[in-house]
Protein backbone atom coordinates (compact mmCIF):
# COMPACT_ATOMS: atom_id res chain seq x y z
CA UNK A 1 0.00 0.00 0.00
CA UNK A 2 1.41 3.36 -1.00
CA UNK A 3 1.29 6.45 1.13
CA UNK A 4 -0.82 8.51 -1.28
CA UNK A 5 -3.00 6.67 -3.71
CA UNK A 6 -5.58 7.90 -6.18
CA UNK A 7 -7.79 5.34 -7.83
CA UNK A 8 -10.18 5.68 -10.75
CA UNK A 9 -10.42 9.43 -10.40
CA UNK A 10 -12.85 11.27 -12.59
CA UNK A 11 -13.39 15.01 -12.85
CA UNK A 12 -16.46 16.72 -14.24
CA UNK A 13 -16.60 20.51 -14.55
CA UNK A 14 -19.87 21.94 -15.83
CA UNK A 15 -20.97 19.68 -18.69
CA UNK A 16 -17.46 18.60 -19.55
CA UNK A 17 -15.62 15.55 -18.34
CA UNK A 18 -11.99 16.59 -17.97
CA UNK A 19 -10.52 13.17 -17.21
CA UNK A 20 -11.47 9.74 -15.97
CA UNK A 21 -9.79 6.56 -14.81
CA UNK A 22 -6.79 8.35 -13.44
CA UNK A 23 -4.73 6.15 -11.13
CA UNK A 24 -1.50 6.90 -9.37
CA UNK A 25 0.39 6.08 -6.24
CA UNK A 26 3.16 7.86 -4.45
CA UNK A 27 5.83 6.60 -2.06
CA UNK A 28 8.20 8.46 0.22
CA UNK A 29 10.86 10.26 -1.81
CA UNK A 30 8.87 10.27 -5.03
CA UNK A 31 7.61 13.04 -7.27
CA UNK A 32 4.68 13.12 -9.66
CA UNK A 33 4.72 15.67 -12.42
CA UNK A 34 1.27 16.26 -13.91
CA UNK A 35 1.42 17.20 -17.57
CA UNK A 36 -1.24 18.37 -19.96
CA UNK A 37 -2.25 21.31 -22.12
CA UNK A 38 -4.13 24.33 -20.80
CA UNK A 39 -7.51 23.40 -19.43
CA UNK A 40 -6.82 19.69 -19.26
CA UNK A 41 -7.65 19.57 -15.57
CA UNK A 42 -4.31 19.77 -13.78
CA UNK A 43 -5.45 22.37 -11.31
CA UNK A 44 -8.69 20.49 -10.79
CA UNK A 45 -6.76 17.33 -9.97
CA UNK A 46 -4.50 19.09 -7.51
CA UNK A 47 -7.45 20.66 -5.73
CA UNK A 48 -8.94 17.20 -5.38
CA UNK A 49 -5.73 15.96 -3.83
CA UNK A 50 -6.02 18.69 -1.22
CA UNK A 51 -9.64 17.90 -0.49
CA UNK A 52 -10.70 21.34 -1.81
CA UNK A 53 -12.75 19.68 -4.55
CA UNK A 54 -14.52 16.34 -4.58
CA UNK A 55 -13.95 13.85 -7.41
CA UNK A 56 -17.00 12.83 -9.40
CA UNK A 57 -15.85 9.28 -9.04
CA UNK A 58 -13.02 7.38 -7.39
CA UNK A 59 -11.19 8.11 -4.20
CA UNK A 60 -7.94 9.40 -2.79
CA UNK A 61 -6.34 7.58 0.12
CA UNK A 62 -3.63 8.65 2.55
CA UNK A 63 -1.99 5.72 4.27
CA UNK A 64 -4.95 3.70 3.11
CA UNK A 65 -7.68 5.96 4.55
CA UNK A 66 -9.91 8.19 2.42
CA UNK A 67 -8.71 11.77 2.85
CA UNK A 68 -12.28 12.99 3.28
CA UNK A 69 -12.53 11.18 6.58
CA UNK A 70 -9.09 12.29 7.75
CA UNK A 71 -9.61 16.07 7.56
CA UNK A 72 -7.29 17.89 9.99
CA UNK A 73 -4.82 15.03 10.28
CA UNK A 74 -4.33 15.09 6.54
CA UNK A 75 -4.19 18.87 6.30
CA UNK A 76 -1.37 18.81 8.83
CA UNK A 77 0.66 16.69 6.43
CA UNK A 78 0.31 18.69 3.21
CA UNK A 79 1.32 22.05 1.85
CA UNK A 80 -0.61 23.41 -1.13
CA UNK A 81 0.48 26.25 -3.36
CA UNK A 82 -2.05 27.23 -6.02
CA UNK A 83 -2.15 29.67 -8.92
CA UNK A 84 -2.98 32.34 -6.34
CA UNK A 85 -0.12 33.02 -4.01
CA UNK A 86 -2.03 33.61 -0.79
CA UNK A 87 0.10 36.57 0.22
CA UNK A 88 -1.49 39.67 1.68
CA UNK A 89 -0.70 42.87 -0.18
CA UNK A 90 -0.62 45.06 2.89
CA UNK A 91 1.64 42.95 5.05
CA UNK A 92 5.38 42.75 4.71
CA UNK A 93 7.08 39.63 3.43
CA UNK A 94 8.13 38.60 6.93
CA UNK A 95 4.66 39.03 8.36
CA UNK A 96 3.16 37.11 5.49
CA UNK A 97 5.51 34.22 5.99
CA UNK A 98 5.11 34.08 9.76
CA UNK A 99 1.36 34.21 9.60
CA UNK A 100 0.93 31.75 6.78
CA UNK A 101 3.10 29.22 8.53
CA UNK A 102 1.34 29.79 11.84
CA UNK A 103 -1.91 29.02 10.05
CA UNK A 104 -0.35 25.88 8.68
CA UNK A 105 0.53 24.90 12.23
CA UNK A 106 4.19 25.92 12.51
CA UNK A 107 5.02 29.01 14.50
CA UNK A 108 8.31 30.60 13.50
CA UNK A 109 10.11 33.63 14.82
CA UNK A 110 11.12 36.69 12.82
CA UNK A 111 14.71 35.51 12.61
CA UNK A 112 13.77 32.26 10.96
CA UNK A 113 11.37 33.96 8.57
CA UNK A 114 14.08 36.43 7.71
CA UNK A 115 16.52 33.64 6.92
CA UNK A 116 14.02 31.83 4.73
CA UNK A 117 13.29 34.99 2.75
CA UNK A 118 16.98 35.72 2.47
CA UNK A 119 17.43 32.26 1.02
CA UNK A 120 14.69 32.94 -1.52
CA UNK A 121 16.60 36.00 -2.71
CA UNK A 122 14.44 38.59 -1.01
CA UNK A 123 17.18 39.97 1.21
CA UNK A 124 16.60 43.67 1.85
CA UNK A 125 12.96 43.45 0.82
CA UNK A 126 11.60 41.67 3.89
CA UNK A 127 10.16 44.83 5.35
CA UNK A 128 8.38 46.15 2.28
CA UNK A 129 4.65 45.57 1.95
CA UNK A 130 4.21 42.79 -0.56
CA UNK A 131 2.11 44.92 -2.89
CA UNK A 132 5.13 46.88 -4.06
CA UNK A 133 7.08 43.76 -4.93
CA UNK A 134 7.34 42.45 -8.48
CA UNK A 135 5.33 39.49 -9.71
CA UNK A 136 8.25 37.09 -9.30
CA UNK A 137 9.12 38.42 -5.86
CA UNK A 138 5.58 37.82 -4.62
CA UNK A 139 5.76 34.30 -5.86
CA UNK A 140 9.03 33.87 -3.98
CA UNK A 141 7.39 35.02 -0.78
CA UNK A 142 4.78 32.32 -1.24
CA UNK A 143 7.43 29.72 -2.02
CA UNK A 144 9.39 30.62 1.10
CA UNK A 145 6.74 28.66 3.01
CA UNK A 146 8.25 25.48 1.65
CA UNK A 147 11.46 26.29 3.51
CA UNK A 148 9.83 26.52 6.92
CA UNK A 149 7.03 23.99 6.75
CA UNK A 150 7.55 20.47 7.96
CA UNK A 151 4.97 18.63 5.92
CA UNK A 152 5.67 15.49 3.91
CA UNK A 153 3.48 16.09 0.89
CA UNK A 154 3.84 19.19 -1.23
CA UNK A 155 1.20 19.94 -3.83
CA UNK A 156 2.45 22.66 -6.13
CA UNK A 157 0.50 24.22 -9.00
CA UNK A 158 2.95 25.84 -11.41
CA UNK A 159 5.49 26.85 -8.79
CA UNK A 160 7.78 28.16 -11.52
CA UNK A 161 5.39 30.72 -13.01
CA UNK A 162 6.88 34.23 -13.06
CA UNK A 163 10.21 33.06 -11.66
CA UNK A 164 13.52 33.92 -13.25
CA UNK A 165 16.13 31.27 -13.94
CA UNK A 166 17.95 31.76 -10.64
CA UNK A 167 14.73 31.18 -8.74
CA UNK A 168 13.90 28.13 -10.83
CA UNK A 169 17.24 26.64 -9.84
CA UNK A 170 16.47 27.40 -6.22
CA UNK A 171 13.11 25.68 -6.33
CA UNK A 172 14.70 22.73 -8.05
CA UNK A 173 17.22 22.33 -5.21
CA UNK A 174 14.48 22.66 -2.66
CA UNK A 175 12.49 19.88 -4.27
CA UNK A 176 15.50 17.61 -4.50
CA UNK A 177 16.32 18.12 -0.88
CA UNK A 178 12.74 17.43 0.15
CA UNK A 179 12.71 14.20 -1.83
CA UNK A 180 16.01 13.08 -0.37
CA UNK A 181 14.60 13.57 3.11
CA UNK A 182 11.74 11.25 2.24
CA UNK A 183 9.18 13.92 1.28
CA UNK A 184 6.73 13.65 -1.57
CA UNK A 185 5.75 16.14 -4.27
CA UNK A 186 2.90 16.44 -6.73
CA UNK A 187 3.37 19.32 -9.13
CA UNK A 188 2.42 20.79 -12.47
CA UNK A 189 4.48 23.01 -14.71
CA UNK A 190 4.62 23.99 -18.34
CA UNK A 191 8.34 24.57 -18.12
CA UNK A 192 10.86 21.75 -18.25
CA UNK A 193 12.47 20.92 -14.94
CA UNK A 194 14.65 17.98 -14.09
CA UNK A 195 14.94 16.60 -10.64
CA UNK A 196 17.97 14.41 -10.01
CA UNK A 197 16.97 12.74 -6.74
CA UNK A 198 14.20 10.23 -6.25
CA UNK A 199 11.84 8.59 -8.69
CA UNK A 200 9.92 10.94 -10.95
CA UNK A 201 6.58 9.81 -12.32
CA UNK A 202 4.80 11.48 -15.12
CA UNK A 203 1.03 11.77 -15.20
CA UNK A 204 -0.37 12.85 -18.53
CA UNK A 205 -3.84 14.38 -18.71
CA UNK A 206 -5.79 14.63 -21.98
Amino acid sequence: MSILQGSDLECVRGDRRLFKDINFSLEAGELIQVHGPNGSGKTSLLRMLCGLAIPAHGKICWHGTDIRSLKGDYYGAITYLGHLSGVKDDLTAIENLRISSALAGVEIDAKKAHDALQHMGLGGRELLPVKVLSQGQRRRVALARLLVCRTVLWILDEPLAALDSAAVKLVQNLLEQHLVQGGMVVMTTHQEIDIAAGATHRLQLA
Binding site: G51, G72, G86, V87, L103, G105, V106, E107, Q181
Partner: protein, 232 residues
Protein backbone atom coordinates in the same frame (compact mmCIF):
# COMPACT_ATOMS: atom_id res chain seq x y z
CA UNK B 1 11.06 11.26 7.73
CA UNK B 2 9.57 14.66 8.46
CA UNK B 3 7.11 14.82 11.34
CA UNK B 4 3.52 14.57 10.17
CA UNK B 5 1.92 16.40 13.08
CA UNK B 6 2.65 20.08 13.49
CA UNK B 7 3.89 21.13 16.88
CA UNK B 8 3.50 24.02 19.30
CA UNK B 9 0.10 25.08 18.08
CA UNK B 10 -3.39 24.44 19.36
CA UNK B 11 -6.78 25.80 18.41
CA UNK B 12 -6.82 28.61 20.91
CA UNK B 13 -3.39 29.67 19.95
CA UNK B 14 -4.57 29.74 16.37
CA UNK B 15 -7.47 32.08 17.16
CA UNK B 16 -5.00 34.38 18.84
CA UNK B 17 -2.78 34.32 15.77
CA UNK B 18 -5.73 35.18 13.58
CA UNK B 19 -6.86 38.01 15.84
CA UNK B 20 -3.34 39.33 16.01
CA UNK B 21 -2.97 39.16 12.26
CA UNK B 22 -6.25 40.92 11.57
CA UNK B 23 -5.46 43.63 14.08
CA UNK B 24 -2.07 44.02 12.46
CA UNK B 25 -3.72 44.43 9.09
CA UNK B 26 -6.10 46.97 10.60
CA UNK B 27 -3.22 48.88 12.16
CA UNK B 28 -1.34 48.85 8.88
CA UNK B 29 -4.27 50.86 7.64
CA UNK B 30 -5.22 52.73 10.74
CA UNK B 31 -7.69 54.65 8.62
CA UNK B 32 -9.88 51.54 8.58
CA UNK B 33 -10.76 51.71 12.22
CA UNK B 34 -11.39 55.42 12.04
CA UNK B 35 -13.50 55.24 8.94
CA UNK B 36 -16.00 52.74 10.32
CA UNK B 37 -16.31 54.97 13.30
CA UNK B 38 -16.82 58.06 11.21
CA UNK B 39 -19.31 56.29 9.05
CA UNK B 40 -21.28 55.64 12.20
CA UNK B 41 -21.01 59.24 13.31
CA UNK B 42 -21.98 60.59 9.92
CA UNK B 43 -25.01 58.35 9.53
CA UNK B 44 -26.25 59.33 12.96
CA UNK B 45 -25.74 62.97 12.07
CA UNK B 46 -27.47 62.62 8.71
CA UNK B 47 -30.87 61.92 10.16
CA UNK B 48 -31.53 65.26 11.78
CA UNK B 49 -30.58 66.82 8.45
CA UNK B 50 -33.18 64.82 6.64
CA UNK B 51 -35.81 64.89 9.35
CA UNK B 52 -35.53 68.40 10.71
CA UNK B 53 -34.26 69.86 13.95
CA UNK B 54 -37.19 69.43 16.32
CA UNK B 55 -35.62 68.20 19.55
CA UNK B 56 -38.54 66.23 20.98
CA UNK B 57 -38.87 64.12 17.93
CA UNK B 58 -35.14 63.65 17.72
CA UNK B 59 -35.06 62.44 21.31
CA UNK B 60 -37.65 59.76 20.56
CA UNK B 61 -35.84 58.71 17.42
CA UNK B 62 -32.41 58.61 19.01
CA UNK B 63 -32.14 54.96 20.15
CA UNK B 64 -33.50 53.68 16.86
CA UNK B 65 -31.20 55.86 14.81
CA UNK B 66 -28.08 55.02 16.79
CA UNK B 67 -28.84 51.32 16.66
CA UNK B 68 -29.62 51.30 12.94
CA UNK B 69 -26.41 53.20 12.30
CA UNK B 70 -24.38 50.76 14.40
CA UNK B 71 -25.94 47.89 12.56
CA UNK B 72 -25.15 49.42 9.18
CA UNK B 73 -21.60 50.29 10.17
CA UNK B 74 -20.98 46.77 11.36
CA UNK B 75 -22.59 45.28 8.29
CA UNK B 76 -20.72 47.49 5.88
CA UNK B 77 -17.40 46.25 7.07
CA UNK B 78 -18.41 42.60 6.87
CA UNK B 79 -17.19 42.46 3.31
CA UNK B 80 -13.65 42.84 4.58
CA UNK B 81 -13.91 39.90 6.95
CA UNK B 82 -13.14 37.16 4.45
CA UNK B 83 -13.09 38.57 0.97
CA UNK B 84 -9.52 39.79 0.83
CA UNK B 85 -8.36 36.49 2.27
CA UNK B 86 -10.41 34.77 -0.38
CA UNK B 87 -9.09 36.77 -3.30
CA UNK B 88 -5.45 36.27 -2.52
CA UNK B 89 -5.74 32.59 -1.66
CA UNK B 90 -5.13 32.88 2.10
CA UNK B 91 -8.54 31.42 2.83
CA UNK B 92 -7.69 28.27 0.89
CA UNK B 93 -4.70 27.93 3.16
CA UNK B 94 -6.88 28.43 6.24
CA UNK B 95 -9.19 25.66 5.15
CA UNK B 96 -6.15 23.46 4.86
CA UNK B 97 -5.03 24.37 8.34
CA UNK B 98 -4.90 21.31 10.61
CA UNK B 99 -6.67 23.17 13.42
CA UNK B 100 -10.39 23.62 13.85
CA UNK B 101 -11.80 26.07 11.34
CA UNK B 102 -14.45 27.29 13.80
CA UNK B 103 -11.76 28.66 16.06
CA UNK B 104 -10.20 30.52 13.15
CA UNK B 105 -13.56 31.98 12.30
CA UNK B 106 -14.14 32.94 15.92
CA UNK B 107 -10.82 34.73 15.85
CA UNK B 108 -11.77 36.62 12.72
CA UNK B 109 -15.17 37.62 14.13
CA UNK B 110 -13.62 38.85 17.36
CA UNK B 111 -11.04 40.83 15.46
CA UNK B 112 -13.84 42.34 13.42
CA UNK B 113 -15.62 43.34 16.61
CA UNK B 114 -12.50 44.85 18.12
CA UNK B 115 -11.93 46.91 15.02
CA UNK B 116 -15.48 47.98 14.25
CA UNK B 117 -17.66 47.33 17.30
CA UNK B 118 -15.64 48.68 20.18
CA UNK B 119 -15.11 52.15 18.70
CA UNK B 120 -18.86 52.46 18.12
CA UNK B 121 -19.60 51.55 21.70
CA UNK B 122 -17.14 54.15 22.94
CA UNK B 123 -18.53 56.83 20.66
CA UNK B 124 -22.22 56.28 21.28
CA UNK B 125 -22.58 58.40 24.47
CA UNK B 126 -21.32 61.47 22.60
CA UNK B 127 -23.80 60.93 19.81
CA UNK B 128 -26.54 60.37 22.35
CA UNK B 129 -25.72 63.80 23.78
CA UNK B 130 -26.32 65.35 20.38
CA UNK B 131 -29.83 63.94 20.56
CA UNK B 132 -30.24 65.32 24.08
CA UNK B 133 -30.63 61.95 25.83
CA UNK B 134 -30.61 61.76 29.64
CA UNK B 135 -27.61 60.32 31.46
CA UNK B 136 -29.43 57.12 32.30
CA UNK B 137 -30.57 56.58 28.73
CA UNK B 138 -26.99 57.14 27.62
CA UNK B 139 -25.76 54.43 29.98
CA UNK B 140 -28.35 51.95 28.80
CA UNK B 141 -27.61 52.78 25.17
CA UNK B 142 -23.91 52.09 25.69
CA UNK B 143 -24.58 48.87 27.58
CA UNK B 144 -26.96 47.61 24.92
CA UNK B 145 -24.40 48.32 22.21
CA UNK B 146 -21.68 46.62 24.23
CA UNK B 147 -23.75 43.44 24.40
CA UNK B 148 -25.22 43.73 20.92
CA UNK B 149 -22.30 44.60 18.63
CA UNK B 150 -20.40 41.32 19.16
CA UNK B 151 -23.58 39.52 18.14
CA UNK B 152 -23.61 41.58 14.95
CA UNK B 153 -20.04 40.56 14.14
CA UNK B 154 -20.70 36.91 14.87
CA UNK B 155 -23.89 36.67 12.85
CA UNK B 156 -22.27 38.77 10.16
CA UNK B 157 -19.51 36.19 9.84
CA UNK B 158 -22.05 33.65 8.64
CA UNK B 159 -23.40 36.02 6.00
CA UNK B 160 -19.92 37.04 4.89
CA UNK B 161 -18.91 33.40 4.57
CA UNK B 162 -21.98 32.49 2.54
CA UNK B 163 -21.63 35.32 0.05
CA UNK B 164 -17.93 34.83 -0.47
CA UNK B 165 -16.84 35.21 -4.04
CA UNK B 166 -20.28 36.15 -5.25
CA UNK B 167 -20.28 39.36 -7.18
CA UNK B 168 -22.38 41.99 -5.51
CA UNK B 169 -21.63 40.16 -2.30
CA UNK B 170 -21.49 43.47 -0.47
CA UNK B 171 -25.18 44.06 -0.91
CA UNK B 172 -26.22 40.42 -0.92
CA UNK B 173 -24.67 40.01 2.49
CA UNK B 174 -26.88 42.76 3.84
CA UNK B 175 -29.92 41.02 2.50
CA UNK B 176 -28.98 37.80 4.28
CA UNK B 177 -27.80 39.34 7.47
CA UNK B 178 -30.24 42.16 8.14
CA UNK B 179 -33.19 39.90 8.94
CA UNK B 180 -31.02 38.14 11.50
CA UNK B 181 -29.94 41.46 12.94
CA UNK B 182 -33.49 42.61 13.51
CA UNK B 183 -34.05 40.95 16.90
CA UNK B 184 -30.85 42.53 18.15
CA UNK B 185 -32.03 45.89 16.86
CA UNK B 186 -35.45 45.58 18.46
CA UNK B 187 -34.15 44.60 21.88
CA UNK B 188 -31.22 46.99 21.73
CA UNK B 189 -33.30 50.03 20.85
CA UNK B 190 -36.08 48.71 23.07
CA UNK B 191 -33.79 48.70 26.09
CA UNK B 192 -33.23 52.44 25.78
CA UNK B 193 -36.88 53.19 25.20
CA UNK B 194 -37.89 51.07 28.15
CA UNK B 195 -35.47 52.85 30.43
CA UNK B 196 -36.68 56.23 29.12
CA UNK B 197 -40.24 55.14 29.87
CA UNK B 198 -39.13 54.26 33.41
CA UNK B 199 -39.66 50.51 32.95
CA UNK B 200 -36.06 49.46 33.56
CA UNK B 201 -33.89 47.97 30.86
CA UNK B 202 -32.90 44.82 32.74
CA UNK B 203 -35.06 42.36 30.81
CA UNK B 204 -33.98 43.68 27.44
CA UNK B 205 -30.33 43.66 28.38
CA UNK B 206 -30.41 40.10 29.68
CA UNK B 207 -32.04 38.98 26.44
CA UNK B 208 -29.21 40.64 24.54
CA UNK B 209 -26.77 38.78 26.78
CA UNK B 210 -28.49 35.52 25.93
CA UNK B 211 -28.22 36.30 22.22
CA UNK B 212 -24.53 36.90 22.71
CA UNK B 213 -23.95 33.54 24.39
CA UNK B 214 -25.93 31.60 21.82
CA UNK B 215 -24.20 33.25 18.90
CA UNK B 216 -20.76 32.76 20.49
CA UNK B 217 -21.42 29.05 20.46
CA UNK B 218 -23.26 28.58 17.22
CA UNK B 219 -22.11 31.30 14.82
CA UNK B 220 -18.45 30.28 14.44
CA UNK B 221 -19.50 26.77 13.68
CA UNK B 222 -22.14 27.85 11.15
CA UNK B 223 -19.72 30.25 9.52
CA UNK B 224 -17.07 27.54 9.25
CA UNK B 225 -19.56 25.25 7.52
CA UNK B 226 -20.53 28.09 5.17
CA UNK B 227 -16.91 28.74 4.35
CA UNK B 228 -16.37 25.13 3.37
CA UNK B 229 -19.47 25.30 1.19
CA UNK B 230 -18.39 28.54 -0.48
CA UNK B 231 -14.93 27.27 -1.23
CA UNK B 232 -15.93 23.95 -2.69
Amino acid sequence: MLPVQPIGCNSLNMSLWVIQRDLLLAMRRRADVLTTLFFFIIVVSLFPLGVGPEINMLRTMAPGVVWVAALLASMLSLGRMFSSDYLDGTLEQMLLSPQSLSMLVLGKALAHWLVTGVPLVLMSPVLGLQYDLSTEALLVLTASLLLGTPVLSLIGAIGAALTLGLRGGGVLVSLLVLPLYIPVLIFGAGAVEASAAGLGAGAHLSLLGAFLLVSLVLAPWAAAVSLRISME
